[in-house]
Point group: D2
Chain length 349, copies 4
């Protein structure tokens, strides 16, 4: 299964082609729309005020409500066009942005709103991810991401029931209240903040992942670190392993309800790069939004140093709506691995 | 550039094929040997006493000391054959090992020493990585990995001069002494410990990495998380970003010696997935070695719970010799990206 | 460079994404339109009367008239919707069509006009091919395809000057007249006919193609045999080699205008899978259009034999307009090989 | 399933890695050896007198006689080393050989015996193909190639019983006698000749092949045209389609023994790029061996024209032993397609 995407922030459209989705899968269009809504800035507080409804149009690969086995193309036209406000970015590379890297690499760039580097491209990931989730759902597998740390405040418990009503996608009412308070200050200070998203995958069968270069962790890490602003990932005990010993960091295989699983889960459901049958757990760190209205040094396309101030509107944090993006990338990897697993051994064995 | 590898721990050999290395590169065979020696257990204290010299034989792709542009195949025959000591593992899945995952996936496994899941396969990564390093060296790029945390002790400074003489690949004399002391205790307690390796890449030109799914961080993360026992990675400030704000976590572009770079380096040399020209910095966490001689619960191939004790010899830590493996995977990614970059724009621009 | 396409004959749209086109290439939109027109049924006699203008809309990857190095997405909406006339095909598999294969493979199919198997998908190839041609043109390389055999009549000479005015893309006035006469009869008999297209690539530098599995002939063959109705390909003397000897089928290297080339060209410009610097020449055979209004036996989705008569309109021959499709696929391969060639050796050599 | 190969004619070894063979397949080593023997020059008359036994050594991926699902590496060491006789080729590019193309591409070449361009690399294809055949055999699929035209003499009938005893792999006793007579003359004249190999695949289920770029014909064509000296391929009626009409070139679906198949087989078992369930039939043309001991013009590495005479030993024809190579490449494609087909639709459909 392969997702190919396209689109610049202020180009004509964003979209993509999903290849390899097996034929015969019922496409729940309402679900896709709902997933897109979770990513949309209008869905959470303290997000950028770019208000576009993100209407997805499917162009191929679906017939009478089911996947044909053919490439599924989809497009979301960009409705907001504000190129004039970007004219002043034509000749400078914004601090902490991809602008300079693109220039060094391509010698040309679409400077309007970050072009291809804009987080707008994640629209395509959410559509592809929603389709992948439908395939996983068909096998009973679920993927859930939520915010566990925001503007320096971490949540200690995981109240999944509360999560459903949380506006910031934080699974703990008390933590959410504290974060909400803090965000008010950050927003007032024209600042932004980073945080951590945790992801749990349930009912993943043992055996997903490949032995060496395509270990499940490796593929999930690649998928998740390709999301804008992500700067790290850890599985299970993650960086905590640096303080553990072999004697207190092991996972023993046991039989539960007639099924093999692990008694502990230090490894986050993946050992030797292959799923164990236990829950897959990992955490992803996002850096603070770089575009905040504060004075910055930078260089121009003529390699001269200069000063600029990013214009007004910005996200104080995008973590609450990034949860669906992490879920999407995770779902795409799991769905692909599920398919690859079907040809790992002779059918009759 | 693509490395394909093969080999089980106690099979006939391990090795691989490196495709896509440009023609005309001088192959420094002494360098390859030296890199392999860095990975070899005999090179560091507290490592497994498997003593094989790891003699690499190149089978193709090199002519009169230079790369031909053809696939470079290499093989390292396994000299130590100790299958009998593994007979008792035939019917059980060791705790914290890939055994069960392989069984669930393939319905068959080579139970001798972990088979394909053994860290023995990293021999092939080091050979491939050494060739990639030769290509990078040709462009002035260097990759350096070292241990910054071991058995719970972290080093605060980076004394690169000391590193050359450090036996544990720790860039700080005082920290190394403390770690050495601690390892004695851990070894006596038949235990093992985890830690963190840091990697610095110097002279990487701006422009490496691809905009969306093949961001430089994404590709490095995949490469590094495919190394056995790695459970997390973070770039630049990494998980520290969770406690930072947009106002204190930015990188401003400046001109230094006529070259664009960043004044700060919170992002570890990569912004928007593309190298900025500044140093690339990331950290990788390794879990403690799982095979320690302590009693464990586990299940048999018949899904029955049982108890076993891993046999005697084991690594107390493999981090000091894992540094060359992290360097190798990093070098393979950078070399590949360097080549891809050559076709990013029209030649005359 | 990779082209990913999508679209069913009577779905919402056809289109694709071209990845890997280097940045900085000027996009000649008029040329793309003109290429599409060459494929359009309205451009040649005896073609299917499906009259759609094929308006291509570019959605991404182009900025101020130049390629950005980003994925270039394009879409051509299907304007003609005639699903009702296909209702009678819902339950049968047409003779000589892909219908049954799709059913066996996917268990579901879009039966309207062949769905994904319709030659309508070649619209996307022509757009991608036109972009590839622009890259080749930038390096002075040209690709030209023309009809050398139609309804059993072959042309012996190659009058490239005449070709420009030929309505059937036949490079010989006398042959074209004879063919035109014959087509009248074939059309009257509600029949269709096959033929052969020849392709010549000029100014291709020596060195394109890879040594073993990606030989230039292998890649061209794959590309061309993926075009609907193509059933064979031959390079240079092709099947004529079966009657030749080593003593009369060789190509000697000579120096012409200071450049190495071959004195003869039995091999059609490719030796050992790699271009020699001489003209690349190959021929492609197309089977007659299968959909003709004649009674046929076939089976239903319930595996029952039955009889049906395809409905009225059909192409008598699509070869004249298939020339641009062959050119497109050829251009895509050459452009990709040109880029791969840039990283075959160290830059300074 | 992917085969990666390596090796130069007079380098240390040839070999490869086969990835993606499902776990649990019994490996019939005797069969692999027997296939290699069919390719070996000692097995047929009028072949090059390079006499090496081609002993294959499997290095990984097989355990207790069965595939592990891991990469299967294999190596065949080159035993004959005759580099001195190639010294005179160091500075010239042989006519009709890849020498010049490699030089233009890589700026360096292994001139001994053609290096990577030598047909010696086909050893690796035969080993990989033998493993693929074992997988196909497990599904009841067979692949058979035989010579249908040699030195200008074609065989009209297909006597598969006779084929087993034919020394030239010609399925007709009378034709073989005539060919044998002719070869004597060709050999005496220090000449070589081309010919055609036909391939028949039986019991291939309907549904193999992908709709657009990976049509079954496209993939088979690529695989077969990557074999040294192949210059063309045609499926079913092939170039004969140029003289046929829609009214006499169709394949009607019928039910035979409760299974859908086609009444005719003009298309050679593939329609719309997907197998129909009927026999797959195609023909491959080989050019005459280029290395014959006759005077030739050529150029030197300094771009000067010169004359040379290839040294003595050569194949008069390699077609009889090329049959196993065509079978191998065909088997690799079919095996891969068989696996891809397993994930084309939801499992329960």
């Amino acid at each position: 299964m392969r997702l190919t995407t396209f689109g610049e922030s202020h180009g004509r459209a964003v979209g993509g082609i999903l290849e390899g989705l097996p034929a015969g899968l019922e496409i729940d269009f309402g679900f896709v729309e709902q997933e897109l809504k979770r990513r949309n800035p209008s869905s959470v507080p303290y997000a950028t005020p770019r208000h576009e409804p993100d209407e997805v149009e499917f162009l191929s690969g679906i017939f009478e409500g089911k996947s044909l086995g053919m490439p599924i193309a989809f497009v979301v036209y960009n409705k907001e066009h504000a190129p004039e406000e970007y004219e002043n970015l034509k000749n400078i590379f914004r601090a902490s942005h991809a602008d300079y890297g693109y220039w060094a690499k391509y010698g040309i760039r679409d400077y309007r709103g970050g072009g291809r580097a804009s987080a707008r491209e994640t629209v395509s990931r959410v559509v592809g991810g929603a389709l992948a989730k439908l395939l996983l759902r068909n096998s009973g597998i679920s993927v859930l991401s939520y915010v566990v740390s925001l503007c320096g405040i971490s949540c200690e418990t995981r109240d999944y029931d509360y999560l459903e009503q949380s506006v910031l996608n934080i699974p703990d009412a008390a933590t959410e209240r504290k974060v909400m308070e803090k965000l008010k200050t950050v927003s007032a200070g024209k600042d932004s903040c980073g945080g951590v998203i945790e992801t749990v995958c349930r009912n993943v069968p043992a055996g997903l992942g490949e032995p060496v270069f395509d270990k499940l962790e490796a593929c999930l890490a690649k998928a998740v670190l390709s999301i804008p602003a992500v700067k790290g990932i850890e599985f299970g005990d993650g960086f905590g392993f640096a303080h553990l010993y072999g004697s207190n960091a092991y996972d023993e295989f046991v039989v539960k309800n007639g099924k093999v699983t692990t008694a502990q889960n230090h490894n986050g459901g993946i050992i030797g790069g292959i799923s164990t049958g236990n829950e897959i757990i990992f955490r992803t760190v996002f850096k603070p939004v770089s575009t905040i209205p504060q004075k910055r040094k930078t260089v121009t396309v003529d390699n001269k140093e200069t000063i600029y101030i990013p214009s007004g509107r910005h996200d104080v944090t995008f973590l609450p709506r990034a949860t669906v993006i992490v879920e999407s990338m995770t779902a795409l990897v799991l769905a692909d691995m599920l398919l690859r697993n079907r040809i790992a051994k002779l059918p009759d064995r």
